[in-house]
């Protein structure tokens, strides 16, 4: 199983002829991901790493029956790209693009919501179901197939923790970054719901950071989950009012502190590791128990 993407995922790359799009298409293909089409307006007929390019997502879907999309277009065109994918019938959209205006992100959110589409991101590293499919910009070699799901607001921190797990011989069912922006398509709960239902996942690692109240809301949900969750929260030392890289990583007033999130998670029985290494060790211990 795994969640959201697997060996049946057939993806379109939107913005395939750009530098990022082309570079990561090659990487995804070499991992074995089924990239069946690319889209760049005006470039129909081209091929990028053997993948046929179409003018519109609609054309791409008609020709290839693609069911997912990865978006690499520049920020100014990203919302349009998401809308296009949704209206072409794509059911899983992974938006890598960062720097999208937040009012555009609000529209993206409601567009996918209205159409029962899963949007991962924007401003995210993507998603990988090890040995099955990889849609995004992650370093696939550090992951290993297994029974731990990882959902994270951060990219490199996810890699670090997955790497630690892999080193301990603990594989992953699906690993994904939900994105560092304030408005994202899928939040922790959306993903936790899927992991809870996934037969291949026995434990979930939740990697949060300061800003917003998603981790607190996730804790509410975790209370009723049957599977154990292990947490990590970055930003204990972040000062209020300053954005820590991610648009969403900001403490506003008394909202969004690491303390509040760790407390909420602890209260529903989630052990929160103090360091990425400790997270992996907790996972190991919990899995054994």
């Amino acid at each position: 199983m795994a969640i959201i993407i697997d060996e049946n995922t057939k993806a379109v790359v939107q913005g395939i002829t750009g530098y990022q799009g082309s570079f990561h298409t090659e990487r995804m293909l070499s991992y074995g991901t089924k990239i069946v089409a690319g889209v760049t307006p005006g470039k129909a007929g081209m091929e990028v790493h053997g993948v046929p390019v179409f003018n519109t997502v609609r054309d791409a879907v008609e020709e290839t029956n693609a069911n997912a999309s990865v978006i690499f277009v520049p920020a100014a065109f990203a919302a349009d790209a998401v809308f296009e994918a949704v209206d072409a019938g794509i059911k899983t959209v992974v938006c890598i693009t960062e720097g999208i205006p937040v009012h555009d992100e609000l529209k993206m959110y409601w567009k996918v919501k209205d159409n029962d589409v899963t949007l991962i991101g924007p401003n995210c590293p993507g998603i990988i179901s090890p040995n099955k499919s990889h849609l995004g910009i992650m370093p696939p070699q550090i992951f290993m197939e297994g029974n731990v799901g990882i959902v994270s607001r951060s990219g490199t921190l996810t890699y670090q923790i997955a790497y630690n797990l892999t080193k301990l011989g603990i594989g992953q069912s699906t690993v994904l970054g939900i994105g560092g922006d304030r408005i994202i398509g899928s939040d922790f709960i959306d993903i936790l719901e899927k992991f809870e239902k996934d037969k291949e996942t026995d434990l979930v690692v939740l990697i949060g950071e300061i800003g917003g109240t998603d981790e607190e809301k996730a804790a509410e949900f975790i209370k009723d989950m049957s599977k154990p969750v292990v947490g990590y929260i970055a930003g204990i030392t972040a000062p209020p009012g300053k954005r820590m890289g991610h648009a969403g990583a900001i403490i506003e007033g008394r909202m969004g502190t690491a303390e509040s999130k760790i407390k909420a998670l602890n209260e529903v029985g989630v052990e929160v590791g103090k360091t990425p290494m400790e997270v992996a060790e907790i996972v190991k211990r919990v899995l054994k128990a």
């Binding site: 999208i100 409601w110 490199t156």
Partner: protein, 387 residues
Amino acid sequence: MKLHEYQAKQIFAQNGIKIPKGKLAKSVEEVETIVKEFGKAVLKSQVLVGGRGKAGGIKLVNSVDEAVEKAKELFGKEIKGHLVEKIYVEEQLDIDREMYVGFTLDRANKGIAAIVSSVGGMNIEEIAAKHPDKIARKTINPKWGLWDYQVRELLYESNMPKEYFKEVFGIIKKLYNVMIKYEAELTEINPLIVTKDGEVIAADARLNVDDNALYRHKDLAELKDYTEVDQLERIAEQKGLNYVKLDGNIGVIANGAGMSMATMDLIYLENGKPANFLDIGGGASAELVKEAMSIILQDKNVKVIFINIFGGITRCDQVAEGLIKALSEMEVGIPIVLRLAGTNEEEGRNMIKEFLKQTKEEIALVETMEEGAKKAVELGCKNGDNN
């Protein structure tokens, strides 16, 4: 990007919201001229920080002499770390009542939060705590925008007195238009005042716009007040680096926002204090590593630098190459703790080991980020006090 009060007010006025008569002054002389015209006035320091009033940044003046005296006090004064370089001089108003209208991004509900209160003048958290029956909040769905029934609900639920209904109704709709038109993250009138003559006027104005949307609002982009941004942060921004200055002594360079925060946190766990947040992002080029180093070295508190890289797409050998290049071109003089993990970590570490044979810079190669933090704190203590 935060706009100054005087800038926000200009935009409000252009969008049909009444504002007091006011003029911007950049010198005591200009204040004097304006107050001569206005008679009585309010001098308002234009600093991008909340609570100016309580911090002494706003002065009522009833004569030109008093204005000159207070202007001299204000110019150059530091308010919560912000230097006063501009004063907005406004007419004095006879205030009968203070109210509140604001819109802000609603992360939790994926919309625009509309907040209206029939009392104002204090911050919104205080209003909510002290007058829960006089505040109303509603999420506006961006699909449909703000409709009249929602405005009515806000007015009724905030117990807005009937006599101000019509005026405040119009202001709520106009302020929402400002929120959408300028792609704001927050816009607020606090206080929205009723004068003794019954006029409803925006006595203060906040407007924070979305940096990511500035390419669609060239006019707003031009308003950016770079004097308000920490100089190092500004330089970092121009170089494409995310840098936030903190008050510790351990410089941090990492790739990824979460990784950078985690690195800071690890230092804190080892009882050290990070000097900064610095995320060099995904594709750390040699040039970027060098820029990051040079920014951190400008912070004279920094006694040690912890570089923490997890190679994903970024290859560790490339990071090593960049670092070596940087160290060949500049003198660092303080110890560096380096953690390289992930893609091509062996190659990277070997390059550094080779480099160490020919340099006098001190580079401690560590295996894990946990170990790196410990080492950095250790070196930081040795190199200076670490409080």
